[in-house]
Symmetry: C2
């Protein structure tokens, strides 16, 4: 019986053209982030299953690929549930592993520590077009800096990188978990209701403000509370300027917003607007929630005009490292939507700038093997000068062969015939 030719369900083979673009994007990202002082690290793709299942990852924890115990530790006959037969799991993001890494290695790392990670993550989501169960994430994080300098640098570095990849006119939407909470509490929701309220609020871009309102009413919250909450968003009248929006809220509702949170947002906006290199806007989005329950402060998300949904995001998660080390370390991260960027570049017919010349040496079949070394030496000399040289046997249908090679970017053909050898 032949083996299975297809990749496993929901994962994909990456073909040369896409892989070349992925490699190029990886280099641009790495080089730009390194120029900002971020240092690359790597952690194993597997984590102790307990590290992945402690409620920090939200919905993603339901989507873990779990790894079977091995050898004597596996007692299938005595197993009652999954946790008896599993010890590791595939990471579903790079933030949990980074926090573990920092807790494990803090003594050897500088303070603050600016980390760059690019790596695969796995989620056993229902497969759907353009969404895969193994995909690449690309994160920068600053650990050990509680000031807004961290947010400022993350936003500047990420947007500079997107700019270098040719993106412009995009938006960074920003909010603060403490502002998000303050507005809901001010309206009259209880602490316990917040999670549910935010799941509904998060649908604003899909169902609109009336949809949010009716869903909250369906959940049987007090009509007055819902009315007051929705009123807050209406008052803003779509004001997206961070400082103007915060002023409106502050004027109408003294004491509602925590000063530290609104000051921080203002400081971030001022510095980013003054120093930004790329062409983008930083806008206030009071409905921005971000799913991960580990966020504690600033949150942000990238929106591309060409792309309906988010193209990356991040925020501050000051309480996660402490789950590993026992004492909290301020932390803030920004994740670029690597797969979406690749998709956008592929769809726009992107060509990698500064590609080297591509030349093919076609050798007639039967060319004496003892003369092959002359061809090899010639190729070596051309490669030294930066040319990419592919050597292959001439096919019977040379025209078709050349056409195929032209499609792969080869534009120069040199032919070697046995009569000339």
């Amino acid at each position: 019986m032949p083996l299975k030719k297809k990749p496993v369900n929901g994962m994909k083979d990456i073909m040369p053209r896409e892989k070349e673009i992925r490699d190029y994007v990886t280099r641009v990202i790495t080089d730009t982030y390194r120029s900002y002082g971020f240092t690359p690290i790597e952690t194993p793709c597997m984590e102790d299953i307990r590290n992945l299942s402690n409620k920090q990852g939200g919905e993603n924890e339901k989507l873990i690929f779990k790894v079977l115990k091995r050898g004597e530790k596996l007692r299938l006959d005595e197993a009652k549930d999954e946790s008896d037969v599993v010890d590791y799991g595939m990471r579903y993001d790079l933030t949990v592993p980074l926090s573990r890494f920092y807790a494990n290695n803090a003594n050897e790392l500088p303070t603050p520590f600016k980390a760059l990670q690019i790596g695969s993550v796995w989620r056993a989501d229902r497969p759907q077009r353009g969404r895969y169960r193994q995909f690449t994430q690309c994160d920068i994080d600053i650990l050990g800096d509680a000031t807004p300098l961290a947010e400022i640098e993350l936003i500047l570095a990420t947007t500079a990188t997107l700019g270098k990849l040719g993106f412009k006119g995009f938006e960074i939407r920003i909010n603060e978990r403490r502002i998000l909470k303050a507005m809901a509490i001010y309206a009259g929701f209880s602490d316990e209701a917040l999670e549910d309220v935010f799941i509904t609020l998060d649908k604003m871009d899909k169902i609109g403000i009336e949809g949010v309102k009716s869903e909250l009413n369906d959940h049987e919250y007090s009509k007055d509370v819902v009315e007051k909450y929705i009123g807050l968003f209406n008052e803003l009248e779509g004001e997206r300027d961070v400082k103007k929006a915060l002023s409106i809220l502050r004027e109408h509702h003294e004491g509602m917003l925590p000063d530290e949170a609104s000051d921080r947002l203002r400081e971030i906006v001022d510095a980013v607007e003054a120093a930004k290199e790329a062409d983008f806007s930083l806008v206030f989005d009071p409905t921005l929630v971000r799913g991960m329950s580990y966020y504690t402060g600033t949150i942000f998300e990238i929106s591309m005009p060409q792309f309906g949904s988010s193209c990356g995001g991040g925020g501050r998660y000051d309480e996660m490292v402490g789950k590993f080390s026992g004492h909290d370390v301020p932390a803030c991260g920004f994740s670029i939507g690597f797969e979406r960027i690749i998709l956008l570049l592929m769809e726009s017919g992107f060509t990698i700038p500064g590609q080297s010349d591509r030349k093919v040496y076609l050798i007639e079949k039967g060319y004496p093997m003892d003369k092959l070394s002359d061809i090899m030496a010639k190729a070596a000399a051309e490669r030294k000068n930066g040319t990419q040289v592919l050597i292959e046997w001439m096919n019977k249908n040379k025209k078709f062969q050349k056409e195929k090679l032209t499609n792969e970017g080869y534009n120069d053909f040199v032919e070697f015939f046995k009569r000339d050898a």
Copy 2:
């Protein structure tokens, strides 16, 4: 209860210095192989468990990390053995996935197809110093070329890459599976005995020729057969020149060696010797076995003088793609021992050539946030000129802070005080 800080057993956190070297080596490898016309591809880290368990991978098949089925497919209560609860496995090499990839995508790929893969593989080996359960492999393969041109190019490209990384004086040991078999059959071993005989022969470098002889005798093969077999190796008197060694064997034992196999070795040696760029020797090793049972022809291995054991290797495996597609495709590959190369570079105190300048901006705490943008703009200008600029707050113990940063390669400090803002 705090979470687990350590990486899972046998896997490791990769710190910034090592990761920078790994990234550099990856770039050198990728750039060199691309100049030879190899194109990068990527496959998922998981494969259908059946693809990984069909005896091609030899011992590695016992070391697979297996992935638990999910959702309704998992019936733990009815499970009798592992195969009932597992559907995927982590790949243990890159050759099996490449063969599947080629079988799946051949129509869209050129012929021959020259593939470059760099990626993680997993083996649940007993953890030991310097050997990890997740590690990087780096393979080039040529599919669809049955001629020795494939071997020649693989050896030239791989050795050129090693040369660019600063390695010299190394050896490529070469043998042919068909010669290996012919010598054993000629001595009188049966076909069924070959696998066992080669497992013993493979220990030659550890136990010597007398050790091999006595182990074969212990396995109760006919004393005459063992004597004749050992005699063949003794006749060579350590001759390592491929062509001389083959001549000796041919003169003494007419008809023992298959002509096609010895001609191929000679052609490979001639072309490689004439066209090689790096400083290495290509030598004959009639005791070279290579563990993987999928090899069908030429096999080779890299030996570094600084390193006891192999530093990479490969060979021809003409029958693997057919296991997926139903029809065989000639295939040959060479894998660089990525982890060993990194280890050698780390131990030799390797520094990455052509690193950019590294500068730190130290900002006094309390520096007005609204002046931060000037510093950011200054940094942006320096980064444009290729300098790596790290921005951080000045610590109380500035001397210690600078010392730590100096250790990380920063050699230039600019200080910003609030009184000057």
